[in-house]
């Protein structure tokens, strides 16, 4: 009997130990799946899957960067000279155009003659750039040159200024506008939220009596409990028209609107952590300051705030983290234009909003899908950095018993 009980105890302890590791396991799984999908992007070709770009053999151009490919097909680059070739106008040729040159009947059974016809087109136009499916590649034709396709480049991903993951033939995965948009909105949100949150934290920790605190605390918690989609809806229905009308803008969905909503959403984090840090100031230090003739305000300003400085900094860092990761509210009020942010009064787009808006349309396993997972990896890493730095900052906070 006694032995049975001991075995049961051991067994239960084993189960408990296992469940203790559940969060570590979850994080491990998240890392594996996010990074596996995300980094697959760099194994994929820069131009659309299953397609190649062909030139005439006499063309001296050996390599075209995906940005340039896009510029060519957008008719922004029109001369081969810009790419280091001869002074000739670039002739664009998309695969579908073959059917306006040759009628479909001439293609033979199962389009067997299609590669040959494509080859002829390229042969006749020395200044051509042709965008063809790989399986119709006119490999036998000696005057056709296939451009080597490079994989998506890490530098292009982080440094590119264009986010157009669905553009053909060369999708652009430049995340710079998204990263800057996210930082832009979040940092401005904290600039609004910090004075407000600090003021409330000082009031709650130093001035308010017990009764007011008892009411204020649940109020702040309620502010934290409101779902982000409700904040987004409030922003959309109330702030967007308000900002549009008072500032006479063309659209009300701007970076400023997003910052305002994010500021409100980051308030509870900032207030709670900063207040905790200030309340931790030892009573003896306050009394010493007051005994030296300082007023209450001087004590707060010269003793309590410096004492709580690292706690307040941690509050700010975590507030930024909250703002960076926020999805729905930002998605609903910032207008979602994936361009480099120039001013607060224009639409911007953040990383989370991009994932939420585009993942539904991205075909599974494609480069677009992978690039969105890579954005998720960036968010995950930013979040880790913020957490670790907040942890390290609050370690500097002296503990109560000094």
């Amino acid at each position: 009997m006694k032995q049975l009980r001991r075995i049961t105890e051991r067994f239960v302890q084993g189960i408990l130990t296992l469940s203790g590791s559940i969060t570590s396991l979850a994080i491990l799984l998240i890392v594996i799946f996010l990074f596996k999908e995300g980094f697959g992007l760099f194994q994929n070709s820069e131009i659309e899957k299953g397609y190649v770009l062909c030139l005439h053999i006499s063309n001296p151009v050996e390599r075209i960067h995906s940005k340039q490919v896009k510029a060519i097909f957008d008719s922004e680059i029109t001369n081969w000279q810009d790419l280091g070739g001869k002074n000739e106008e670039i002739k664009l040729f998309r695969f579908e155009e073959i059917f306006s040159i040759y009628p479909e009947e001439e293609m033979g059974e199962d389009y067997a003659l299609l590669p040959q016809k494509l080859g002829e087109v390229i042969e006749q136009n020395p200044s051509i750039i042709a965008f063809l499916p790989e399986r119709y590649l006119p490999a036998k034709n000696k005057s056709v040159k296939t451009l080597p396709t490079n994989n998506v480049d890490l530098l292009d991903f982080f440094g590119g200024k264009e986010w157009m993951p669905t553009s053909t033939p060369a999708p652009q995965f430049g995340t710079l506008p998204l990263i800057l948009g996210t930082l832009w909105v979040s940092i401005f949100a904290i600039l609004i939220a910090l004075p407000l949150g600090l003021g409330v934290a000082i009031y709650m920790s130093e001035l308010a009596n017990e009764r007011i605190r008892k009411w204020l605390k649940p109020t702040i918690e309620l502010l934290a409990g409101i779902p982000s989609v409700v904040y987004g809806f409030f922003g959309l229905a109330m702030l967007v028209p308000l900002i549009q009308n008072t500032l006479h803008l063309q659209v009300g969905e701007t970076a400023l609107t997003g910052s305002l909503i994010l500021a409100i959403m980051a308030l509870p984090t900032i207030i709670t952590i900063a207040e905790d840090a200030m309340r931790n100031t030892p009573q003896a230090m306050r009394e010493a300051s007051l005994a030296l003739g300082a007023t209450h305000w001087q004590t707060i300003y010269n003793v309590i705030i410096p004492y709580a400085a690292s706690g307040i900094t941690a509050a700010v860092v975590l507030g930024i983290g909250r703002a960076i990761g926020e999805t729905m509210a930002v998605l609903m009020v910032t207008g979602n234009a994936a361009v480099m942010p120039h001013s607060l009064f224009e639409p911007v787009r953040t990383i989370p909003a991009t994932i939420a808006a585009e993942l539904g349309e991205a075909p599974m396993g494609g480069t677009h899908y992978q690039s969105l997972f890579l954005l998720g990896c960036i968010l995950f890493i930013i979040n880790m950095i913020i957490n670790i730095s907040a942890e390290m900052i609050s370690k500097n906070q002296p503990s109560r018993g000094m």
Partner: protein, 284 residues
């Protein structure tokens, strides 16, 4: 300026700021309650959307959110509870518990859209659940796991140490002490965590976007592999993608109000539970 005057100005400023923050909360609540109160009636709560979501009610979304609440609590609460017990009672105070705590904190602060991505990659695509209640419940369960672990741990830590030694001294084993002594005493506080988790689940949108939420489903789910509509996603859809904003706006206000009411009730319940039972433990 003399220091008394400075103090006066500073303190007035703090009072004004605090009032401002409370004012913002009431502005948001008031705005939604004022616009939504006229929309909510029995019919709105019990019928399906009609005419491209410009008429009818939100019944399928309410049912869907309830399914997700039940599903995520079932998948996260037991293991979260066990994990909390382990951290508080068994793990001691060494490196392991520090590591677990850091991991729990990290999991708790991961942006919700990342959970959505992960849920899609693992549950929807790898496990082939498809967009379903079970995929959404697991994703949301992962999201509330840290909350449940943390509240359980805190609830257990709040029980005075002498209770444990007393029980052990009477000959009870460690497991008996935990099951018969510590858990019943910590029960109200653990429930508070559970209630807060329900609040979190009912409001989250990003994790369910790609794991369960359906744009429009007139019929109710018949099993755990069905898609459902959900209140927060429904609010997002009708607030942003309708062509007929004039007639869909009232429904959006109504949906937002239902969400707000759920959150208010949950916060009220949690506060009451905390105050009532918080006192009881102390006076015992």
């Amino acid at each position: 300026m003399d220091k008394k005057a400075k103090q006066k100005i500073a303190f007035i400023a703090f009072r004004v700021l605090s009032l401002l923050v409370v004012g913002i909360l009431f502005w948001i609540l008031g705005f939604i309650i004022y616009n939504g109160i006229g929309v909510i009636n029995w019919e709105f709560l019990t019928t399906a959307p009609e005419d491209g979501m410009t008429a009818g009610g939100i019944f399928p979304a309410i049912v869907g959110t309830c399914c997700l609440i039940v599903g995520s609590i079932i998948s996260a609460f037991p293991i979260g509870l066990l994990s909390g017990i382990y951290i508080s009672e068994y793990a001691g105070n060494g490196r392991i518990v520090k590591f677990i705590r850091i991991m729990t904190n990290n999991l708790g602060s991961i942006p919700s859209i990342v959970f959505g991505l992960f849920g899609m990659a693992l549950f929807v695509n790898t496990f082939k659940f498809g967009d379903s209640i079970i995929a959404g419940s697991f994703t949301l369960g992962l999201l509330i796991l840290p909350l449940i672990i943390r509240t359980t741990e805190e609830a257990l830590k709040a029980i005075p140490f002498s209770y444990r030694t007393g029980s052990l001294a009477l000959g009870a084993s460690k497991l008996q002490t935990i099951v018969r002594m510590i858990l019943p005493m910590a029960f109200p506080n653990i429930m508070t965590g559970l209630i807060l988790a329900i609040g979190r689940v009912s409001g989250e949108t990003a994790p369910i976007l790609f794991t369960v939420a359906a744009y429009f489903l007139p019929k109710l789910p018949s099993g755990i592999f069905d898609q459902v509509m959900a209140l927060p996603y429904h609010l997002y859809v009708i607030a942003t993608s309708g062509t007929d904003i004039e007639s869909s706006r009232p429904i959006a206000y109504g949906t937002a109000l239902v969400l707000i009411i759920i959150i208010l009730l949950i916060n009220l319940l949690a506060t009451v539970l905390r105050r009532y039972f918080g006192k009881k433990v102390k006076t015992n």
